[in-house]
């Protein structure tokens, strides 16, 4: 799993770098020479969707998405664990819905072409099912890791 995470990190860094380079180049070209690279707009937008979704998958792995933990924290080790399991299941259920719906619309998306890139939109819409599958995988992993932890009484932060 660590190898997969590392690979996603490389892809994210690479894509973010390409987006940044392309938009900088476009801005400089337009500002200095009044010329516009036609592909910049679509390329950077669609690559950003991939980048953001893959980065969001990394955050699921790290449990880094913003959430409110007041109730889970107040419930103690056992209750907190049940509630955590429930919350991960909600996450997975949503992701499964996204995957199913994405697969359903793929045939019609495949026929759509991007305006300037001459590529099928499917290449970019694929970001949704692919990263949703990764997110669901990571959420499932976090759930299993949490459930396998031995239950111990919470130690106050000061004595850790």
């Amino acid at each position: 799993m660590a190898g997969l995470v590392r690979a996603i990190e490389y892809v994210v860094v690479l894509m973010m770098g390409v987006i940044t380079g392309v938009v900088i180049a476009e801005t400089v070209m337009r500002g200095a020479f009044g010329v516009s690279l036609i592909v910049t707009d679509e390329l950077s937008r669609y690559l950003m969707v991939w980048t953001a979704l893959l980065a969001a998958a990394l955050l699921v792995y790290e449990d880094g998405h913003i959430r409110i933990t007041l109730l889970p924290d107040a419930l103690g080790p056992v209750g907190g664990r049940i509630v955590y399991a429930l919350s991960q299941l909600v996450v997975i259920a949503f992701l499964v819905a996204v995957i199913v719906a994405s697969v359903m619309i793929m045939p019609s998306i495949t026929r759509q072409n991007t305006v300037t890139l001459h590529l099928s939109m499917a290449w970019f819409y694929a970001a949704l099912p692919v990263s949703s599958a990764l997110m669901a995988l990571f959420a499932l992993r976090n759930l299993i890791v949490k459930l396998r932890e031995p239950i111990k009484p919470a130690t106050p932060a000061l004595h850790r």
Binding site: E9, V12, V13, M15, M16, G17, I19, T20, V23, I24, E26, T27, V28, R30, G31, D41, S44, R45, Y46, M48, V49, T51, A52, L53, L54, A55, A56, A57, L58, L59, G64, H65, I66, R67, I68, T69, L70, L71, P72, V83, Y84, L86, S87, V90, V91, A93, F94, A97, V98, V100, A101, S102, M104, I105, F124, Y125, A127, L128, A157, L158
Partner: protein, 427 residues
Amino acid sequence: MTPTLVIFAVGVLIGVPVAFALGFSGAAYIVLSEKARLTVLPTVLFGGMDSFPLLAIPFFIMAGDLLARSGMLDRMIGLAMAAVGPVRGGLAHVNVMASMLFGGVTGVSLADTAAIGRTLVPSMVKEGYKPGFAAAVTASSSVMGAIIPPSVGMLIIAYVYGGSLSIGKLFLAGATPGILIGLTMMITVALMAAPRGFPKSDAGWSLVVILRQAWRAMLGLVVPVVVVGGIVGGLFTPTEAGAVAVAYSLVVGTLLTRSLGIRDIAASLLISAKTSGLVFLMLAAAKLFAWILVINLVPQQLGEVLKGYIDSPQTFMLAVMLLFFVFGFVIEGVAAMIMFIPIIAPLAPHFGAEPHHVALVILMSVQVGLFTPPVALGLFIVCPFAGCSIKDAAIEVIPFVIVIMLITLLVVFVPGVAMWLPRLVGY
């Protein structure tokens, strides 16, 4: 509609990440109501993220991060040290002033919290400041990052608002209140200095040193001028301004200060991608949720109900301020804005409130939550450096909470405080 809201509320309460709680309840609505087919889900989510203006978010995060890695924050601290270091409570003043100066470089709160926590806070504790106070002043002053332009929070608000806001106008509106927060915090420190016996260094003032430090900090000080000036002057769009800021910080970091290596750049790319991933996913899911609210006429109905209680733009803004103060307190600023602006924004015209003014008040109100428990992300970052508990710092933040509330109230009741600058350049 009601089951959707209940599902959302229960989801958030049991700790489902906000983005997924929004998405799940949105998907549940589609399935239960049969008003749309589930296949709209990918289209709405993709559409919520596919936007050229949104690219400004990763760029401004990256530019601020790269400039901090280029040693620009240290130069701001150097300038602040020369300017306000010699007074009683010098390091506390330096802490606030460095955040104020760096606020023009970074677009996010807490961008400087860890760095100042690492450099200034241990010296403060060694000099005899209470650890809780050192942590409180660091966390609370760093909120200027989001209020002084450039501001990623403002880019997010503008997107959630639906593209009717001008980024240039919003950026300019934040400048004066942001600086006022910094100055008022410094006055607060000055008032505490004698009674609490803050230390005073032996160093004296020297105009030569101040000018030399200002010259060294110049590379960072010009960033807000170029960025905001470029956007306001119509030279480039906010996204292009972000790209220019990234290009500038790369030049500064690699050629001028020579402190940026390839690893720093990769780390910066990863951080900006991750922060954007967090925000984009919430924005996309919120788009789905906002669409459901709109087709169910929730904002209209809410507006009708509120009309009985609210009779002026000021009362409306006051209500908005208190609402977002509470939201920021229990949720987290960005999530609170993305969740609730779609409901609040359509109400503003009913009560004659100017949208940029409302947006600024919302942004300022949610900042308080960054250093007040339970959320208090800022305190969680800085307390380990100070060696204090969250509880120690939580008491010390109270005066700074009051400062931000007072300046926000000032902006609510005297709109000119914020809006004179945008007006001056013709917005």
